[in-house]
């Protein structure tokens, strides 16, 4: 057997590090989900109904075009964030 073979070892430091990463991941995902929800709920406020853009009520434009594009943007950011956090995680060997 090769001497270079790495045997996974347990340490409290590693464990706490993993817990920290897990908390960080959970927090960032929650934040992204909250943002995504906000984009859907925001145009329900009456202020959005009073203005027209391109012949469409701003609330409708926001719900059908601007909002989904915002969500796409948030998703792009969330993917980068998740990857960065996952790369530090010793538990996720597949990444």
């Amino acid at each position: 057997m090769s001497n270079n073979l790495k045997i996974p070892t347990f340490s409290r430091k590693n464990f706490l590090n993993t817990r920290f990463l897990r908390t960080q991941r959970r927090f960032s995902i929650t934040l992204c989900v909250a943002f995504v929800l906000l984009v859907v709920i925001l145009p329900l406020t009456p202020a959005f109904d009073s203005m027209d853009v391109l012949g469409l009520p701003l609330s409708f434009l926001f719900k059908t075009i601007i909002g989904p594009l915002f969500i796409l943007l948030i998703l792009k950011y969330a993917l980068k964030l998740s990857e960065r956090i996952d790369l530090k995680d010793p538990e996720l060997e597949n990444e």
Binding site: F10, F15, L54, T64, L79, S82, D86, N94
Partner: protein, 618 residues
């Protein structure tokens, strides 16, 4: 070693797309020569049937790994197209435009729910679902041989919701085939089941992914092609999303104002679909939207595509791209409703009944209960001016007003081209797109139901150590059995199609979504707690659905239906909202049982450390 066809998908997808375009051009030439319509109909059907046969042959395999996960060889763009085609089903591709037309902003529940759902699926489930090496939802959620009851409960949920969605999609096949292609409903259904069956039996998820890749460009061309053309013709702007406001809605508002002034309509008859809805209050709007989002995020036939990717990073990318691809079609759907409305307004409103046969002959072709039932006048399908006179109870000088016209949502998209006086071939192309949308959802549902029954039922309960060749054989057998049982299932589930869709979404939101959330993000909740939660969520949601739609006597529309109200919040909980009530109940019961079970145990960290230490090899 077999090739992995998903890696070189671009060339195959291009071949199919070129074949599709060639069929359109050839069809156009045949119409110029005067060849009978039936041959052109078959030509367009060849795109659909040929695509599935081609996908089946390309993805053929005798390896279980390739059959169940495509050997994890897909690229993010492949999985993204497959997920997008799966989402663009009956309710999105065919029904949604009509729902915008008829219910206004209430249709945003489905629109925004889909966008949110894909975002949730990508953020919450794509990576952990891909990370698991299991091949079914039950196995992924309850790895190993433990928690048999939970696994069976998951299987039950996948089968119930899958069958509801399957029957609901299949029931539309016959209508499109008979209305637009002149093919009898039972023949259309048989061809559908045979072709999809061939594709799935040859290569399982691998062939299914290829077929869905073929479907996506066809769906885009079929929907956006005519819509962009109409938008360009009317406004000079080929982007319907941007032109609909000034190009259609402004004119509709002008006509509405004129009708009000002339006394042809009251304020109640007019629905400005970008500003108001018809039925949902604030509570039901938000909860229904969340239910659709949760339902889409946890839909097994969409989630399974994340298993075809090599790593979680690719799974996340696929989710991101799938949202982009869905938005290409989804954002255009309100515009289609707007241009459809403008067309109905300008070609029908204000005409006298005696003028209908001369000035709107299309009306009688599109008001056929047995074929294309787009429109009813005064509550009846009409085949002639005399029928209109009978239905409206007035003479030939009667003016058609807004309240006399009813549009049926499911025919809005396939009839759009005909109403805008585009060539008949364009209507056939759109109808082909509609069939592709239905097929590209049915295939995934058939596969996921069969695979779940085999993996979570047969393999977990009866033969845990069955060899891969035998498992592959049994999975193929299950697909055949399900396809043969489908006509029988369609005979049992005969209720309203919209109800089937809402019930399936509500049950997924109530049971599968919270389970996935707990398993991937709150791993400390034990399976026993989740089982209690799932049973509670299922019972509450199905009871609300049952009471609200069938009542105590189990008959729909008998008048004894009971809609549960929440004082000061809502008068009646809608079908979709019942999924959120069930979801909350599921989470509450799971956490409650979890606290009771864990009470008195050692601290969680110490327990976990002990578990981890025992896992480290000596």
């Amino acid at each position: 070693m077999q090739d992995t066809p998903l890696k070189s998908y671009a060339s195959k997808s291009s071949i199919h797309f070129i074949f599709f375009l060639a069929c359109i051009v050839f069809g156009f030439l045949l119409t110029q020569v005067g060849i009978p319509d039936i041959f052109i109909n078959f030509l367009m059907l060849a795109v659909l049937i040929g695509g599935y046969i081609f996908a089946g042959i390309l993805g053929r395999t005798m390896q279980l790994d390739a059959f169940q996960t495509a050997g994890r060889s897909a690229t993010p763009t492949v999985a993204a197209q497959a997920i997008a085609s799966g989402i663009l089903s009956y309710s999105v591709f065919i029904l949604l435009a009509g729902e915008f037309y008829n219910t206004g902003t209430d249709a945003l529940v489905i629109f925004s729910g889909i966008v949110l759902g894909i975002a949730f699926m990508t953020l919450l489930f794509a990576a952990p679902f891909n990370r698991s090496r299991a091949v079914s939802l039950g196995d992924t959620l309850t790895p190993g041989s433990t928690s048999m009851l939970v696994k069976l409960m998951v299987m039950l949920m996948v089968v119930i919701t899958g069958v509801l969605l399957l029957v609901f999609q299949l029931s539309m096949i016959g209508k499109i085939a008979s209305g637009y292609f002149g093919i009898a409903e039972n023949i259309a259904l048989s061809v559908t089941l045979f072709t999809i069956g061939f594709c799935l039996l040859m290569g399982g998820l691998q062939s299914l992914s290829i077929a869905r890749i073929f479907a996506y460009p066809v769906l885009v061309v079929a929907l956006l092609g005519p819509l962009c053309w109409v938008s360009y013709q009317l406004t000079g702007n080929p982007v319907p999303q941007l032109s609909m406001g000034n190009g259609a809605l402004a004119q509709i508002e002008e006509i509405n104002r004129e009708m009000l002034e002339e006394g042809f309509a009251t304020q109640n008859d007019i629905l400005e679909f970008t500003r108001e809805g018809t039925a949902l209050d604030g509570f039901n709007y938000l909860t229904s939207l969340l239910a659709v989002a949760f339902g889409i995020a946890a839909m097994p036939h969409l989630l399974q595509h994340h298993k075809t990717l090599p790593n979680p990073r690719a799974a996340r990318k696929a989710g991101f791209w799938s949202l982009g691809l869905v938005l290409v079609v989804l954002t255009a759907i309100p515009a289609l409703a707007a241009y459809m409305k403008l067309d109905i307004y300008t070609s029908l409103l204000g005409l006298q009944v005696s003028d209908l046969e001369d000035q709107a002959p299309w009306l009688f072709a599109l008001s056929n209960q047995e074929g294309i039932g787009l429109i009813t006048l005064c509550g009846a399908y009409v085949a002639s001016g005399a029928d209109v006179i009978t239905a409206c109870g007035a003479g030939g000088e009667y003016f058609i007003s807004l309240r006399d016209i009813k549009i049926h949502s499911e025919f809005v998209v396939p009839t759009f081209a005909a109403l805008n006086e585009l060539p008949a071939l364009v209507t056939l192309v759109v109808a082909t797109g509609c069939l592709f949308a239905l097929w590209s959802t049915i295939d995934g549902l058939v596969y996921v139901i069969s695979n779940t029954i085999v993996q979570d039922g047969f393999k977990s309960v009866l033969r845990r150590k069955s060899p891969s060749s035998f498992t592959l054989f049994v999975t193929r057998l299950a697909i055949i059995a399900l396809l043969l049982a489908t006509p029988y299932l369609m005979g049992i589930f005969t209720f309203d199609m919209k109800l089937a869709f809402e019930a399936a979404i509500a049950l997924i939101a109530a049971c599968l979504f919270p389970f996935l959330l707990l398993r991937f993000w709150y791993k400390s909740v034990p399976n026993s707690a989740i089982l209690f939660g799932m049973i509670t969520g299922f019972i509450i949601t199905s009871t609300l659905l049952w009471l609200g739609n069938f009542g105590v006597d189990m008959l729909a529309g008998s008048g004894d239906e009971i809609r549960i109200s929440i004082p000061a919040i809502t008068d009646a909980i809608s079908n979709l909202s019942s999924g959120i009530v069930g979801c909350l109940a599921m989470l509450m019961v799971s956490f409650l049982v979890h606290r009771i079970i864990l009470r008195g145990n050692t601290s969680k960290i110490d327990k976990t450390i002990t578990d981890m230490k025992s896992d480290v090899p000596a």
